[in-house]
Amino acid sequence: MKNNRDTAPPKWPNRLLRIFCSAHLVEELEGDLEELYYQRVRSGNVGNARFRYAVDVLSMIRPFAFKKEKSRYPQPSFLQTFMIRNYFKIALRNMWKNKAFSFVNLTGLVVGITACLLILQYVSFELSFDQFHKDSDRIYRITNDRFQQGKLIQHGTITYPGVAPSMMKDFNEIESYTTIGNPGTFSLQKDNQIFEEKGAYVNDRFLSVFTFPLITGNPKTVLKAPRSIVISESNAKRIFLATPDDYAGLIGKSIRIDQDTEPYQITGVMKDFPAASHLQYGVLMSYETLAKTWGEWVRAGFESSDMWHYVKLKPGADVAKLEKKFPAFSRRYFKGDKVTGSEEQFFLQPLKKAHLFSDYEYEIGKVNSGKAVWTMLIIAAFILLIAWINYINLSTARSLERAKEVGVRKVAGATSGQLIWQFLSESLLLNLLAFILAIALTVALQPILNQLIERPLSLSLLTGDGFGGIYMPLVLAGIFTLGILLSGFYPAFALSAFKAIQVLKGSFKRSTKGIWVRQSLVVFQYTASIALIIGTFIVFKQLKFMREENLGFNMDRVLVIRGPELTRWDSTAIDRINAFKTELERIPSVKVASASANVFGNRLSRSFNFKRIGSNDSKGVTFSRMPVDPAFFETYQIKMLAGRNFRPTDSNADGNKVTNAILNLSAAKLLGFKGAEQAAGQKFEFNGKEWNIVGVVSDFHQQSLKHAIEPIVFAPFYTLSGFFSIKINTADIGNSVDLVKQKYDELFPGNNFNYFFMDEKFNEQYKDDRIFGQISSFFSLLAVMIASLGIFGLSSYTIAQRTKEIGVRKVLGATVGSIVKLLSQDFLKLVLISIVIGSPIAWYGVKQWLNDFAYKIDIEWWMFVVAGLLAITIAFATVSSQAIRAAVMNPAKSLKSE
């Protein structure tokens, strides 16, 4: 047989064959090919033989050639009940054997899942606001931006009464609208008893635009007639001591509201507003009432901006297109700025955004920061990730211990598929256990959290009652399943991939293979932790800054009482107010008492078109108004910069005769005066009247530092529905309050005595920020803790593996310090990398948060250094405690072992 180069079969088909053909078939196929080839060569044409050879190989590209060889051994199915039982048994034994390790692992998971569940409840609740309305996606609030000389002077939800009715008339897209007027706290009087409750005047479509169900009464008519009132269920119980059977009997009963001389008729009882509603009213009164008490202008006026409107669009209406028609609408009704003296722009704000994404002035609803909610969500995600990463790191780090088990199992015939299942079932078991414990812990911690953040949270928010409805539990279940699988997969694959021969021969030492995975996971954990530490740190700096910043007035020990709202105003009112103040000042502990229409922390009303007299500039400016008495500036220690304080003679029972005013420095500057001295003694024009600027006071923060200082005009007007501020100069405040109450009851009988302390009230503006700070710092701490737990477990493991090395080093003369350094530096390197990555992330996040404040701290480099040092300290403390223990161990002991 010739076997030279010319007649040998071509090589490439063979190579191809070996690629696609499964190994066990190659031999016989090659044999057949070669046999046929040489037969064909012998029978004549070599070319033809070569061609047929190639064709034969190509013809073998068929399913039979790809099939894997059938195993000669029986193939038990993957999941047999007795094996599964065995997996769980081994898992439990393993957990039991390494108690400390399992504890660290389980703690991380339980804490992580608990934190995540608690935060998710909060997020779900906040995001679910106003979603209970039937057509919530079609309801919009009209917002109104006001410009003067091109400058935005008001960005509000408050607007003119005529806006919504005119829009309804002009725009086909609007299906319905409701108007809300005069929202606030009302005194409901029944048989000499006074009940205070939040409420508003709303038009008769309120109950059809929104979904606030009535228990009794016809929703179409209950708010039609003037002086109709619908009360909530809890008010029916509180005021009328009614049981559900009595509700129908309440209809037609009368009740008095504030100072209105005529009684209101109860026309219906409604369910209490859900907690997740940005509007929170216990009583609704008919809008027609306002037409009687305030005047006809409330129906369609365009002069005073005092109402809030919500519109419901028709299904399928294009909001963007509708908004484009608003500029023309504004020109039509306001004729440029002829009607109000300013340019009016209107927008539609989706109801969904009213709670979380609303930065408007004159807000009537409950508002929270959407940024805060998203931040919490991110923290929750971080915590959960960190917990799962801990699981991954700890289980793979321990792999050496399990390597022998894997080897023996493999020798006994386990496939890697079975081993993967085994380790997955272990992670499933641990995660399930953690989940059950986490739910128990969540239920236990719920009341504390609810009290702290003043929200009615419960697990039901995650099972269909909150945001996303029924999708929420499904999505959560998906995320948890995915997390459990992913965190279980890596260790399962790493462990099942061990080679049985290596492991059992003992040549298998340390698993350095997966080390970079573990290291990058640690870096992720620490990056997240450091970003959270920095964020929390800066949030707290800002909160501290706001608490301690000089506000421009002194509110220490100022007791404020609400004015006697139920006392009717008459010509003697000013004398009675002054008499009350004189009486108050007779109390030894009272230093000075003052009356004002408003106090700090509330947005003041604004007026437009203040014009300086003697200047050529004919355009008016906008001021906030604050009616005060002469003692006001002294009570709050506000500095008089120029001119004089008010005198009793400046005020007059006839408001038209009052012509003296005081400005704050910002207002004086806005009028064009260089400074306080230049403004004092000058005049301005407002409301068709000339006013004398008798004095100028320094600027102060009327509201929280989130708001800029406003130009304010002070006028010596009095009101009975304002406030009395009483500066007390003793520590015995309780006694002083009692004395003040005595005088109040004597002089203003029939009024409720309501009081608060100015500083507490003012700082309440930061309540949401404070809660945010507390909650986010608590959970950031948790995140850091879990991450440290992970580094603790990981370092204890690597150190245990290096016991012998440490022993040898000590024998050769290494010091404890050098060993500690050796063991810690690996981890510290990772922490340093994390700081480098985490700092810019934190910087960006905090910058976003700080943007909400008009007055804020600067972000400085040392803040990052402090946070970084803190992280290093924590990491070092965690690692070094174990490193030192390993380093001081007697080398004789460690070298003897094994």
Binding site: E28, L29, E30, E35, L36, Y38, S59, R62, F64, A65
Partner: protein, 106 residues
Amino acid sequence: MKGTYLGEFEEIVLLAVAILAGDAYGAAITNEIEQQMGRSVNLGAVHASLHRLEEKGLLSSRMGGATAERGGRSKRLFTVTMAGTRALDTIREIRNRMWDNIPKPA
């Protein structure tokens, strides 16, 4: 097990294995078919049929009989099983019956 329906080519391969009685392997079967049918056959097609027939239980195989001609590689030797023989008989009977039923020209 798949049905015992035989395709035309499968039937031919099965017959070739029967003819070669004990010395049936890929190359020999291919040669046998080429000679009997007078047309060229791809080795791949033959092997595919052999695998199918073995799956159907009509053939069984064992390894053996390496020769120098094939570079010392062993052959897979096929034999017809009882089921295979029965299948061939059935086909033959059916064919015969059908032939018999053709009306004879007068």
